[in-house]
Amino acid sequence: MSNLVIVLFDGFAFGMLLFVLSVGLSVTLGMMNFINLAHGAFGMLGGYVTVLVMRQLGLPFIVALPAAFLAAAALSIVIERTLFRRLYRAGELNQVLFTIGIVFVATAVATYFFGTVQQPIRLPAWLRGTVEIGGIRFGTYRLFLIAIALAITALLVFGIERTRLGAQIRAAVDNQRVAQGLGLNVEQIFGITFALGSGLAGLGGALAIEIVGLDPSFAFHYLVYVLIVVSVGGLGSITGSFVGAALLGIGDVAGKYFVPEIGSFLIYLILVAVLLWRPLGLFGRR
């Protein structure tokens, strides 16, 4: 029994990491239909900012996290204003090609500045080790991950449901043309959402170092996971991303635990099965 609990817990924690990495892409894709394959590159940026802040400035991990968020958000604003904006009306293939180009460039730049080596970070003592609850040892860092993801979810859900910006974002996701007709500045709303989503990716990249490491291939490697979460969860849905990420995290870990022979297939089997059953994802609309 305790095995099951721990497997579910580990899977859920991994899923929460995927959630933070991918929720931004889900919302921006749902809103503007802009296919941003460079989303993982913002995650990578957050990771490297964390490493710099901790190593070069000697600041604690907990300070590095907001720095990673801000850096990714800030850079995304610049890129959105200068480059992506030109591509909203371009076809999806051009968006794919352009953002893959960005991934290539980002990977090369990361290699140039940081080398191909793994970038380890040293967590503060209070995040290391395990906590024993009811005779089961839970990884402290995984508890921390879950806490952060839940806090983000709460903030997002609250923000989307209760704030003015949230209402505007909802309107824009539901129907861009109608939102425009209502006098909303959709491009501006999108810019803000985009920065928020990229910032979260940056935060996810920072949180991911401890679990999956960080090197220049991060942007490309985690793109696949992010896309899986987004498509399984359904575009434009925070709940969808949350459930999709949790499902994949738990499915992945539980699958490896109970049937290790097909451990490497499971995530893709889930992907294909869910999409054939519900092509718009679990929580997708339209």
Partner: protein
């Protein structure tokens, strides 16, 4: 415009759409240039030809039928392994029958997969193709006893083509052979896109919701082209095995699926020649840039992709066509 005789006009116009232009003749003659100008680049040229064939197979579904795929390496890899296993496990190394079988196996699997493919669109479609690609990769890795796993399949060796031409170190045979297969594959594809079936595919791409309203069972069209495309990709994969005598898991990799789409969009979709041009530019640029700096070449490739999108939204071939004022 002078009024043409009412019935002659559309026939002549339609015939003109599929007529061989002198651009094409010049292009295919130019593919012979490497023999004279770059005889030490023939192995690269043969891999470009293989990539071009693969890109054409993707163009048939992506450019003509609007099926975006990120998993077509599945069929490329199937073809590659078919030829490889035929030689390594069964000792059959005859190239031409090997290629046909590679195409048949990949086509068969493509036909089965097409039932899944036609059920989904947009992002779901991309992700289902991606998922199937990854499943195939993991399957090949799991079946190490058969495929050799990550170490690659050992013991692949090809017989001489028609019992005469050995695959030589300089790549004469490899390029000649790849070029002939590419040309044949191109002819088949060209025939398809210029047929009424090709027209139906363009109809699907242009407006899939209208198709049922003109009585079209478009999912059958889609299954058919997907199967043809898979078979063609399988032939390309088999060709790679034959010209290199190796098969590794990379023939099934996501990287290969993504690269071929990049090549295609780079060159321009829905034109067949865009696929070939894209393969040439991507692989030659990569070879040359990696020659200058093996570590950072993808920076320049990335920049190239961005520039093409910003300034040539219809791909390089579309840009050239616009420059010369030709109709798409």
């Amino acid at each position: 415009m002078t009024p043409l005789a009412p019935t002659a006009a559309p026939h002549a116009w339609l015939a003109r759409q599929s007529r061989w232009s002198w651009f094409e003749v010049v292009f295919w003659l130019a593919t012979l240039l490497p023999f004279f100008l770059f005889p030490t680049y023939l192995t690269l040229a043969s891999q470009v030809a293989i990539a071009a064939l693969f890109a054409i197979s993707v163009d048939l579904i992506l450019g003509y039928a609007g099926i975006v795929t990120l998993g077509h390496a599945l069929f490329f890899g199937l073809g590659a392994y078919t030829v490889g296993l035929l030689s390594a496990r069964l000792g059959w190394g005859e190239p031409i029958s090997g290629l046909l079988l590679a195409g048949a196996v990949a086509g068969l699997v493509g036909f089965v997969a097409s039932y899944l493919i036609v059920r989904v669109q947009h992002l779901a479609l991309i992700m289902v193709t991606l998922g199937l690609g990854f499943l195939a990769y993991e399957l090949a890795n799991a079946m190490t006893w058969l495929t050799g796993g990550t170490d690659g399949l050992r013991g692949v060796s090809m017989w001489q083509i028609v019992g005469t031409f050995r695959f030589d170190l300089w790549g004469y045979t490899a390029y000649t052979y790849s070029l002939i297969v590419l040309f044949l594959g191109f002819l088949v594809s060209r025939t398809i896109v210029n047929s009424s079936f090709g027209l139906a595919l363009r109809g699907i791409r242009e407006n899939v919701t209208r198709m049922p309203a003109i009585g079209s069972d478009h999912s059958w069209h889609l299954r058919k082209i997907y199967t043809i495309s898979a078979a063609l990709a399988g032939v390309a994969g088999g060709l790679l095995t034959q010209t290199t005598n190796t098969v590794g898991l990379d023939v099934l990799s996501f990287q290969r699926s993504a690269d071929v789409v990049v090549m295609l969009i780079l060159g321009g979709t829905g034109r067949l020649y865009g696929a070939i041009l894209g393969a040439i530019i991507f692989l030659v640029a990569r070879d040359q840039l990696a020659g200058v700096n093996p570590q950072y070449w993808y920076f320049w490739i990335g920049l190239l992709l961005m520039v093409v999108v910003l300034f040539m939204p219809k791909g390089i071939l579309g840009f050239l066509a616009k420059l010369t004022g030709r109709r798409d």
